[in-house]
């Protein structure tokens, strides 16, 4: 799957980007990047070559062997009497720890390369497995267990994967499109799996060693999050200096697992916590406050890491103070809110009514606005007695409504101002239509004086509509466009 490979590469790029500022490890990372790119390129070419050694070189390097040897020795020696007198940078143990950090990052990259290798080889046999099992080490273990077996009921994956995933894997295997691998490819694949597993074991050893020395290297950080998590954070970041340079939001996400899909809803997944999740403080907060606690922990541990990277406080007091602060804050969040005081009623009529405005209100007001018909009926012509509903001045007067010579034959529903603006936008499309509003209106009208009156279409162009329209201000026009000179 090209997309998975791309996402892995992108992850590598991200990790490298975080360390880009670190001068000490920049060339190491550059070397790694090149190695990765070469490895990936070589990997693609190597589909024909099938040679693991050209892909994964780390275990053969001298550096790896040296450091592993030193770590073994140090672990054998047990806890060292730390020489506080010496400056840290000169201490060979500190140098070893720095190397260990770099090495653990390298090992991780190497594991990913090998994972790609295994995946490509095993794709012929069981293509869906890579999307079901994300973690490289788990994948390697599963591949080793399954081997060339076609029937997954004979394979016992208990303990390697969560049972739900085992079920999905078994079901997928029964319908897979893969074929059993030829012997040499199978051997090479198993070989690669073994190598991945040994690398993983080596990485664990390195991390154990770093963890045991954690209290000496980064006392403040280990007081807050605990030495195991501190070692993991340092290992993933690629050193104490690198960890110190990360922003707190990145520290929060170090070690975050990728989402395990397999058809499960993501609504229940724990969002966006990494190694911080394993700290004692986090585990002891109630679930509702966990997100806030995680952010708080990440920020304070970043501060502690920064103190440690400059050796500002070798005794660890800063760490203890920060831990106390975190504890206090979390306690304060859990306090119940203060009791509500019943308020007295406000003085009547002291607060003026809030008048609302806006388009919605204007539209509502239009329903009760005075219509053109009513306006016409309210006005009268000079010297001309108006018609009335009951005749002879009794009943309601009609005013200008229906008077001969008013220009309009029928007063139809006037366009509201809002509708006029909207209509203006589409008026380009409508220049073909005539002025008639509905198909049932006729151009004839019976007036009391002259009998029949025909509507004159040209008259509309000259007249300013009914007498109700403003003669000065246009009801639909806006300011014309004024060009800047």
């Amino acid at each position: 799957m090209a997309t998975l490979a791309d996402s892995f590469l992108a992850d590598l790029d991200e990790l490298s980007d975080n360390e880009a500022d670190v001068i000490e490890e920049e060339d190491v990372d550059a070397g790694n990047m090149e190695e990765d790119v070469d490895g990936e390129m070589a990997d693609i070419e190597n589909l024909n070559y099938d040679d693991l050694d050209s892909v994964s070189k780390l275990q053969k390097t001298q550096r790896y062997v040296d450091i592993m040897q030193k770590v073994e020795d140090a672990l054998q020696k047990g806890s060292d009497i730390s020489n506080l007198g010496m400056v840290l940078e000169d201490d060979p143990e500190y140098q070893l720890i720095v190397d260990c950090n770099a090495l653990s990052v390298d090992i991780e990259n190497e594991i990913i390369i090998i994972h790609n290798f295994i995946r490509d080889k095993y794709r012929l046999k069981f293509p869906e497995l890579e999307s079901l099992v994300h973690h490289p080490i788990d994948y390697a273990r599963v591949v080793k267990k399954i081997g060339n077996e076609m029937d997954l009921t004979l394979v016992d994956l208990e303990g390697l994967l969560p049972s739900a995933i085992i079920m999905v894997v078994s079901v997928t295997a029964s319908t897979t499109s893969g074929k059993p691998l030829p012997e040499e490819i199978l051997d090479k694949t198993i070989d690669a799996c073994d190598r991945a597993l040994t690398l993983d074991a080596a990485k664990k050893k390195v991390l154990d060693f770093v963890e045991s020395r954690m209290g000496y290297i980064a006392p403040n950080l280990s007081t807050i999050v605990g030495s195991a998590v501190a070692a993991k954070l340092m290992g993933t970041a690629g050193g104490l200096a690198a960890l110190a340079k990360m922003p707190a939001c990145n520290v929060q996400l170090l070690g975050a697992k990728k989402k395990n899909l397999a058809g499960f809803s993501t609504a229940t997944s724990q969002f966006r916590v990494g190694y911080i999740e394993q700290t004692e403080i986090f585990q002891s907060t109630p679930p509702s406050l966990r997100m806030r606690a995680c952010r708080l922990l990440a920020s304070k541990s970043t501060l502690a890491a920064r103190v440690d990277s400059t050796r500002g406080d070798p005794s660890g007091n800063n760490g203890r103070a920060l831990r106390e602060e975190i504890r206090k804050k979390i306690e304060k969040w859990q306090e119940p809110p203060p009791a509500k005081q019943p308020k007295p009623l406000p003085v009547p009529d002291s607060e003026p009514k809030k008048k609302r405005g806006g388009r919605r209100l204007r539209k509502m007001k239009e329903r009760y606005a005075i219509t053109d018909m009513r306006k016409l009926a309210n006005r009268m012509q000079f010297g001309v007695p108006e018609e009335s509903s009951l005749g002879d001045g009794l009943g309601e007067g009609y005013g200008m409504l229906g008077q001969a010579g008013s220009g309009k034959l029928r007063v139809s529903v006037g366009q509201s101002k809002l509708a006029a603006k909207v209509a203006k936008k589409f008026k380009e499309k409508q220049y073909g239509s005539s002025g008639a509003s509905s198909g049932l209106t006729s151009s004839l009208a019976f007036t009391p004086v002259q009998g029949i009156e025909l509507s004159n279409p040209q008259a509309h162009a000259h007249q300013l509509g009914s007498g109700t329209q403003s003669t000065y201000f246009s009801e639909t026009g806006t300011f014309s466009k004024i060009k800047r000179t």
Partner: protein
């Protein structure tokens, strides 16, 4: 929440309080000491002052006869030292006779008095429907 109503026993106290309550409705409740009006006093406190006048004290009898108070409890309303009258459909507009049915009724009455008073009226009409108004009959004596 125990908010004990201020009880007045002397004529001078009544005088000062009528004079000193500015821009607030003064509710003078003529009655006995045990009165279930205290809770609403707090709610209304931004625009009203509720005070209990002990009708058993000697000095207060002057006021009792001035206002013609015979039924316990009776309430008289003042605003800025003006006596506010309320037309509640009963015979006597100068005071409110009887207890209130609900706390909200009391608040409504005080609010109506306030609004009318702010507009400058000296008599307001009662906002309550007639079921909520305690009914009584006026008996004239020696007339």
């Amino acid at each position: 929440m125990s908010y004990v109503l201020r009880t007045l026993r002397k004529k001078r106290e009544v005088d000062t309080i009528i004079r000193d309550t500015i821009d607030k409705v003064l509710v003078l409740r003529f009655g006995r000491s045990s009165d279930p009006l205290c809770k609403s006093a707090r709610e209304v406190s931004k625009f009203a002052n509720v005070v209990l006048v002990d009708i058993d004290s000697d000095e207060i009898q002057v006021y009792a006869s001035y206002f013609d108070i015979t039924f316990i409890p009776s309430t008289v309303f003042f605003f800025n030292a003006h006596h506010m009258k309320m037309d509640s459909g009963t015979a006597d507009h100068t005071k409110w006779v009887g207890a209130f049915h609900k706390k909200q009724d009391f608040i409504d009455v005080v609010e109506a008095i306030y609004r009318g008073a702010m507009k400058g009226k000296l008599i307001v009409s009662c906002p309550l429907p007639s079921e909520r108004i305690p009914k009584y009959q006026l008996l004239y004596r020696d007339v």
